[in-house]
């Protein structure tokens, strides 16, 4: 199938499926050079000379201006100074950079020779002599070290080399604890009050008017220090009151809501973004990251988007003082799915 290139000048390789045409139109060779104005007119050459110098001088001015700007536009408590500082520094440095860049390119384009030259390109592979010498070296190395001959050494070396990086893998073991059970539990307990995010004031059932939405954290979250964000990342809840008649509730979940007030995990079951958008008219909850949509009145089931599972529901009740409290922790792990769940 393949035809070798005939010309001695062409590199010799298999051409595969390429058709090497016998009657290819002849290469006319390099185009004649076109003379530029700066090549033939001394006036143009002098002008270009001045332009390049002017650009370089402009650059120098820009760089000096940047130093001046650094001191002339200090930062104070007034945030407006940030704008002035950034602008004057940036614009003068830009001038410093453009001056050099344009000057150099202009110089090359107008005053340096612009006749294209041709340089020979050699085959990437070494010449036959070079390759023969390379093979000879390898053979010599093999012979002198006995690499092929000494099987025992070779194989034991392979073993040693294969094993030596392995400890490194184990060294990463202490990067973090094993996940254990923490992913299954949140800080919600029986009787934990539902509190407003972020200030932590407890919410009374009577505060929750029809159609209103509360972003909820467990009371006491504020007192945590080390693990506050980790707990919040699991315990965040969305609380909404809808007309009890609208609610579609399964038998066992009838007692999880209170007078039309339902609480659902705010952490998306897709990849964990907060499901923060509530559409009051349709009672849909929408995750702004990947648009998973959950039907709040129907157990927060997925009605659109990449999520698969409904948002977990937090069973709630009201304590003696009228505050909303959790009946227990969530009955399933919150947030993105994981293998062991």
């Amino acid at each position: 199938m393949s035809e070798k290139a005939k010309s001695a000048k062409e590199h010799n390789y298999e051409s595969g499926l390429a058709v090497v045409a016998a009657d290819k139109i002849k290469d006319p060779g390099l185009e004649p050079h076109r003379v530029r104005m700066t090549d033939k007119s001394p006036a143009h050459e002098r002008a270009a000379n001045r332009q390049v110098a002017a650009l370089f001088i402009l650059s120098a001015i820009g760089s000096v201006a940047a130093i001046v700007a650094y001191f002339a536009f200090p930062l104070t408590d007034d945030l407006g100074t940030v704008r002035a500082n950034t602008w004057w520094l940036g614009i003068s440095i830009t001038l410093g950079l453009f001056g050099i860049g344009l000057g150099a390119v202009h110089w090359a384009k107008t005053l340096m020779p612009d006749a294209e030259v041709s340089e020979e390109r050699h085959q990437t592979r070494g010449s036959d002599e070079v390759r023969a010498r390379a093979i000879e070296i390898i053979k010599l190395a093999d012979q002198e070290s006995g690499f092929t001959r000494r099987k025992l050494i070779r194989r034991s070396m392979y073993t040693a080399l294969a094993l030596f990086p392995l400890p490194a893998i184990f060294f990463f073991g202490d990067l973090g604890p094993s996940p254990a059970d923490s992913l299954r539990h949140t800080m919600w307990r029986k009787g934990t009050r539902l509190a407003k995010d972020p200030d932590g004031t407890p919410i009374k059932a009577s505060d929750v008017t029809l159609g209103s939405i509360f972003h909820v954290i467990p009371a006491g979250l504020e007192d945590l220090h080390e693990t506050k964000l980790e707990e919040k990342a699991k315990a965040a809840v969305i609380l909404v009151r809808v007309d009890p008649a609208d609610l579609i509730e399964s038998e066992e979940r009838k007692s999880w809501s209170y007078d039309g007030i339902v609480a659902y995990s705010k952490i998306c079951t897709h990849v964990g973004c907060p499901v923060a958008l509530y559409e009051q008219q349709t009672h849909h909850l929408l995750c702004p990251c990947h648009q998973s949509t959950f039907d709040l009145v129907d157990g927060c089931k997925v009605i659109f988007g990449p999520a698969s599972r409904a948002l977990p529901q937090l069973p709630i009740a009201v304590d003696s003082e009228g505050y909303l409290v959790a009946q227990s922790d969530f009955n399933e792990p919150v947030g993105p799915s994981f293998w062991e769940r």
Binding site: E14, K24, L30, H215, F338
Partner: protein, 586 residues
């Protein structure tokens, strides 16, 4: 090198310096070897340069930022100058980012230079890759360098992601939350990997410092290493050039490194730096102070990653609902695994493309003259399909913004984009291939009959014709200097078996080359010129295929079917041209 521009020791100041250097580091030999190295000139060769220079700017601005940024997640109460956040609890990382922005002179400028140059780096690297792809610059001997460049592109994305997660603001924190969710979706080991990465539960107190190590050390070190390899190979291979008069696979035509390319490329670095500086001065990017520190509960609408991560985010969004199953002892989150697989598979195909094409063509020659995209219609069409696939995924990351800006239903936008993801690449392939073939035929026509001058003349017998002006030989050569490929047949191997691989290769080569257009040869050109003498502007198409067919015929008997097949597949391609010629004749 800069102070050794002259190598002739004349006793001048420069000559003495040069002599000093040469006697210690042998600079004369280096200059002799590289000083007049020839580089071809074309605007599209600047794209890689832009990427390289953006990376240098990244290093410069990034180093400045490391002097001020503190990669710690310990909570502090903010007491800086930015009023709206005074008294807020936030991580040290976020607080120090605010300090860089508002309390370090030029700090905000440098942050913006860094971010813009990162965007520029990935964009330029991507465009450079497209240039290399569509011109076939990845062909032998440059397949390995394509792979290196591909890894650089992936590392660019990694550098970008690890970088924009560092300020620990609300937006980037949600990005990490998504990474956490994706990791957890990995079967069997997902939650362990997440726990290792975040040192326990998300968000933990470790991730910023860990990303910082990756971002300022591992990723840039790898990029620098691969850049060195990338450029070293450019020196070994010498740069490719576009086809044209005097440009061959055995030479390189252009300007010498010194002085022309030192001035042009050196100057261009300052221009790229200047453009980044100007953008950074005038356009705000990533105003983290507006977002607030990371908090797992709030999120802003329109949450999106930086643009180069968008296609992966889009893949996540486009996954259909309810793809999660229980089985084999665990949870299978296909709504996460499929997008991940699609992303990985896409990257693998991109990285492996040169090897795939090489396998199909069996071409062992070195290619230093670039293809014009139209002269490789199927490759160009495959590229267009790939670009479309990427672009649709990318648009997928903006479904919500498209819906709100154009006042459309979010659900309809998403469904349309899902459909477009499947249909778009096929359509793009078809359209691109048709356009490429049409352009090739147009080239043939111009070569054979010259270019249209727009001058209409009336013949003595009343016919109106347009005068065609023949091309000069240099212009013409640009249009005929390319190779065409013949589809192959599945042939038995030495054991007499036709392997599956051979069949696949045969059908792929048919897919690639069955309706190719061949370059105009001397015979055809002479025939057209002959025709022209009698009747200008008349097509000479019918003759065109004969030389190729004749040449193929005497070859192996097994190939006879291939030849006839080829002839038959080409017939429909010929017809429109012939038809077009007919009315002209009248």
């Amino acid at each position: 090198m800069s102070n050794s521009t002259t190598t002739k020791p004349k006793g001048s100041f420069l000559a003495n310096r040069a002599n000093y250097l040469d006697e210690r580091v042998g600079v004369a030999g280096i200059l002799k070897e590289f000083g007049r190295k020839v580089f071809p000139d074309h605007w599209s060769f600047m794209l890689g340069e832009v990427a390289l220079y953006s990376f240098v700017v990244l290093l410069i601005s990034g180093t400045f930022l490391t002097f001020f940024f503190q990669p710690a997640m310990t909570e502090v109460v903010y007491n800086g100058v930015y009023g709206p956040l005074k008294g807020a609890e936030m991580s040290i990382a976020y607080a120090s980012t605010l300090d860089i922005s508002f309390e370090v002179r030029g700090g905000l400028l440098m942050r913006q230079v860094h971010h813009w140059s990162a965007l520029m780096f990935v964009a330029a690297a991507g465009l450079h890759m497209l240039r290399v792809f569509f011109t076939g610059a990845f062909r032998k001997p440059r397949e390995i360098n394509w792979l290196v460049g591909f890894l650089l592109f992936v590392l660019g994305m990694a550098g970008g992601f690890t970088g924009y997660s560092l300020p620990d603001d609300l937006l980037s924190g949600n990005g990490l939350r998504i990474i956490d969710g994706m990791l957890k979706g990995v079967p069997v080991v997902g939650s362990s990997i997440s726990s290792l990465l975040f040192d326990g539960e998300f968000p933990g107190h470790a991730i910023v410092a860990r990303l910082y190590s990756l971002h300022i050390m591992i990723v840039p070190a790898l990029i620098i290493l691969l850049l060195a390899v990338h450029l070293f190979m450019v020196v070994i291979h010498k740069h490719t050039h576009y086809s044209g008069p005097g440009r061959k696979d055995t030479n390189v035509v252009g300007y010498p490194l010194m002085p022309v390319y030192v001035a042009k490329a050196g100057g261009f670095f300052f221009i790229v730096f200047g453009v980044i500086m100007l953008i950074a001065t005038t356009f705000t990017i990533n105003p983290v102070w507006n977002y607030g520190g990371y908090d797992p509960s709030p999120v802003s609408a329109g949450t999106q990653p930086d643009w180069y991560i968008g296609w992966l985010d889009g893949a996540l969004r486009l996954a259909p609902s309810h793809l999660e199953f229980q089985g084999l002892g665990g949870t299978w989150s296909f709504n996460i695994l499929i997008p991940l697989l699609v992303g990985v598979l896409f990257l693998v195909v991109v990285g492996a493309y040169p090897f795939i094409e090489k396998w199909i063509t069996g071409d062992e020659r070195e290619h230093h003259v670039l293809d014009r995209p139209r002269n490789a219609p199927v490759r160009t069409a495959v590229g267009a399909a790939g670009v479309t696939f990427y672009a649709v995924l990318w648009a997928g990351a903006a479904t919500d913004l498209i819906a709100t800006h154009f006042k459309m239903s979010l659900n309809h936008v998403l469904t349309s984009i899902q459909i477009l993801l499947l249909v778009g690449p096929v359509f793009a392939f078809w359209v691109t291939k048709r356009i490429a073939l049409a352009l090739q035929r147009k080239d043939r026509e111009i070569v054979l009959h010259g270019r249209e001058t727009g001058r209409i003349i009336r013949m003595p017998h009343g016919e109106f014709i347009e005068v065609h002006e023949p091309l000069d030989k240099y212009e013409m050569y640009k249009l005929v200097d390319f190779k065409s490929y013949q589809p192959t047949l599945a042939r038995p191997n030495s054991e007499g078996k036709i392997t599956v691989a051979a069949r696949v290769r045969a059908s792929l080569s048919k897919f690639y080359f069955q309706d190719r257009v061949t370059p105009v040869g001397q015979v055809e050109l002479a025939a057209a010129a002959h025709h022209e003498e009698h009747a200008p502007a008349i097509e000479a198409k019918p003759e065109t295929k004969k030389p190729a067919a004749k040449k193929a015929a005497p070859k192996a008997a097994a190939k006879k079917t291939a030849t006839t097949k080829k002839a038959s597949t080409k017939a429909p391609a010929k017809k429109p041209a012939a038809k077009k010629a007919a009315p002209k004749k009248k």
